[in-house]
């Protein structure tokens, strides 16, 4: 596939590796770097800051940011109970990223798996699955989550379940469409003629071709789920205190908007930087994983 496209850059005779391709795109590189630093800080630094994030200091209530006289933990200021904001953002990141990560993996696994089945089988299961996807998609996902969380109690597990169920159709539809096209190709028919089982054809011949598309969608979906979880927590029907997420921190800062803008500002900035990075990365992945478009990045 790759060699059939006339390469506009004559000096590179062989295709670039994915990593060096990433390094050539400044926006995607910065986005990846930010995500790696954020995840690294969440995994390695946040556990050590757990106590600091919960220690209240009533004399330091709503302490302003950029105060170099105080400890580095207070660089972004302190909240209404005098708790330092920077460590709180890192501790909250753990919940935010954990919930989003689990939801995306669950939806990816179920949606992708069902999509493989729906695309490959010629039986009645495919239209049945598509109808169910239509049903879920025909109602706004945030409203659906609001309703279900009202009846189940809001907890991390229920949040993950709700956020993944509402997003399964996205993976299901994309996988099914692609599998239906791949199924017609010569190499799949050849594998079938040589006696490969259905499972073998799906796992070793079809899945590797669908996987890059699925990962690209999952990256974009991660951003969507972070936004959805933040919105639910902001409305007070997501995660419950004393656990915190970024959305909840924005909500907690809202009553102090006039005196202390930084309470709501920093966690919101963390959300927007994370979702923006994920969107940029997924835009890059869409080109990098598509053999017909990849040359655009190699220019």
């Amino acid at each position: 596939m790759q060699h059939s496209i006339p390469a506009p850059a004559p000096e590179s005779t062989q295709p670039l590796g994915t990593l060096s391709l990433l390094r050539r795109d400044p926006a995607a590189s910065i986005a990846t770097l930010f995500l790696v630093v954020m995840v690294g800080a969440t995994v390695f630094v946040a556990p050590a800051l757990q106590d600091a994030a919960e220690s209240t200091d009533l004399r330091g209530r709503n302490a302003p940011p950029f105060d170099l006289e105080r400890d580095w933990q207070f660089f972004l200021g302190a909240d209404a109970l005098g708790r330092p904001i920077l460590p709180r953002i890192l501790v909250a990141a753990r919940n935010t990223l954990l919930i989003a990560g689990c939801s995306v993996l669950l939806a990816l696994g179920i949606g992708g798996g069902l999509g493989l089945i729906a695309g490959y089988s010629r039986g009645a299961i495919s239209p049945l699955l598509m109808r169910m996807a239509d049903i879920i998609m025909s109602f706004p996902s945030l409203l659906l989550a609001v309703i279900v969380l009202y009846m189940l109690k809001p907890s991390i597990l229920n949040l993950v379940i709700v956020l993944s169920i509402t997003r399964i159709p996205v993976y299901l539809r994309a996988t099914r469409a692609e599998v239906m096209e791949i199924r017609q190709r010569m190499f799949v028919q050849a594998a079938a003629v040589m006696g490969a089982s259905h499972l073998r054809i799906i796992l070793t011949h079809i899945l590797p071709i669908v996987l890059p598309t699925l990962l690209t969608i999952a990256t974009l979906e991660f951003a969507f789920v972070v936004l959805a979880e933040s919105a639910l927590s902001f409305l007070g029907i997501g995660i419950q205190p004393p656990e915190i997420t970024w959305g909840m921190m924005v909500a907690q800062g809202k009553p102090y908007l006039v005196q202390a803008w930084w309470l709501s500002f920093w966690p919101g900035l963390a959300i927007i930087l994370t979702t923006l990075s994920l969107t940029l990365l997924s835009n890059w992945m869409r080109l990098a994983f598509d053999p017909a478009q990849r040359w655009r990045l190699e220019q």
């Binding site: 049903i135 609001v146 009202y150 409305l235 969107t279």
Partner: protein, 304 residues
């Protein structure tokens, strides 16, 4: 009626039925429904009385029968908070949300079409870069945060705009602006990509070769072909606007159906929640059918 439209109507009705069934069984199977309907402080006698009056001691299927017939007759009972019929409250609130959503989506379509097309005419140019960055940020910004920053800057900082309510024209500016941002970002991207594809398509070259003017090429050929993906994403975003309305209405104290729903959830006012769900679902069903009609008018291939 086209087969596409008929299929859509059928699947929408099915989803409405499924939604009602799910809501019923979730509300019945996750514990005592009197806990959903009655305030938390209700006494045990009140709960027992409530179960007796509402037939909650009957078999589950009989209960579902009552529940379903009530919904078909659009009888959702009265609100616990206001003692008014739930449907009346929801329809009143829905009128507000509808105004907000229609105003916003109109502005979004106009702005996104103009800016997305201009960006597509000069790919890689300064305008394209600015438009792309703006739309990317718009599509990834959390709307509740934008709303808070908007209040901070324009209401508290400059004192130009009111923070909540609906009294004057000024009250509408911040809610519309916040609701505008995310769909605008997404639709601008789609318009840009669709226009780039349409401007490079063979039919555009043919039109240019036979000497059609640029206005005719843009409006007669490119935009007409690019409008199909645009209509699809506008439809998705218009339904998704209800997501945004929940946030925006809660923050700005706007008396729409989103705020009503959140308030009812926090006050455990189940009849109003149920009425909001059904009314919203019917509205989305109607809107999906409208999108299909527009689609059929634009694309002769779907008109069979």
């Amino acid at each position: 009626m086209s087969s596409r439209l008929r299929r859509r109507l059928l699947s929408s009705l099915l989803s409405l039925v499924a939604l009602v069934v799910i809501v019923f069984f979730l509300s019945r199977l996750t514990g005592d429904p009197s806990a959903l309907y009655l305030p938390l402080a209700a006494s045990e006698e009140a709960r027992e009385n409530f179960r007796e009056v509402n037939g909650l001691n009957e078999p589950l299927l009989v209960q579902f029968g009552h529940f379903a017939t009530d919904i078909v007759r659009l009888d959702f009972g009265e609100s616990l908070r206001t003692s008014r019929p739930a449907l009346e409250m929801v329809l009143e609130a829905f009128a507000w949300t509808l105004q907000l959503a229609v105003l916003t989506i109109t502005l979004v379509i106009v702005a996104a079409t103009v800016i997305g097309s201009l960006a597509a005419f000069n790919v890689g140019g300064a305008f394209d870069r600015v438009a792309t960055v703006m739309s990317l940020i718009g599509a990834s910004a959390p709307d509740f945060w934008i709303a808070i920053i908007g209040i901070l800057v324009f209401s508290i900082g400059f004192g130009w705009l009111p923070t909540s309510g609906t009294g004057t024209v000024w009250h509408w500016i911040l809610p519309i602006a916040v609701l505008f941002i995310r769909p605008f970002g997404l639709i601008t991207q789609v318009v840009r990509n669709a226009m780039i594809a349409a401007l490079h398509a063979p039919y555009t070259k043919t039109a240019r070769a036979k000497g059609a003017g640029s206005r005719r090429i843009i409006f007669g050929h490119a935009l007409r072909n690019a409008s199909l993906p645009i209509v699809t994403v506008v439809g998705d975003q218009a339904a998704g606007m209800l997501n945004g309305a929940v946030i925006v209405e809660t923050i700005f104290g706007f008396p729409g159906v989103g705020k009503l729903m959140i308030d009812s959830i926090l006050m455990r006012d189940f009849s109003v929640i149920l009425a909001s769900i059904v009314v919203t679902a019917i509205a989305i069903l109607l809107m999906n059918m409208l999108i299909d009609l527009i689609y059929a008018a634009l694309d002769p291939r779907t008109r069979t």
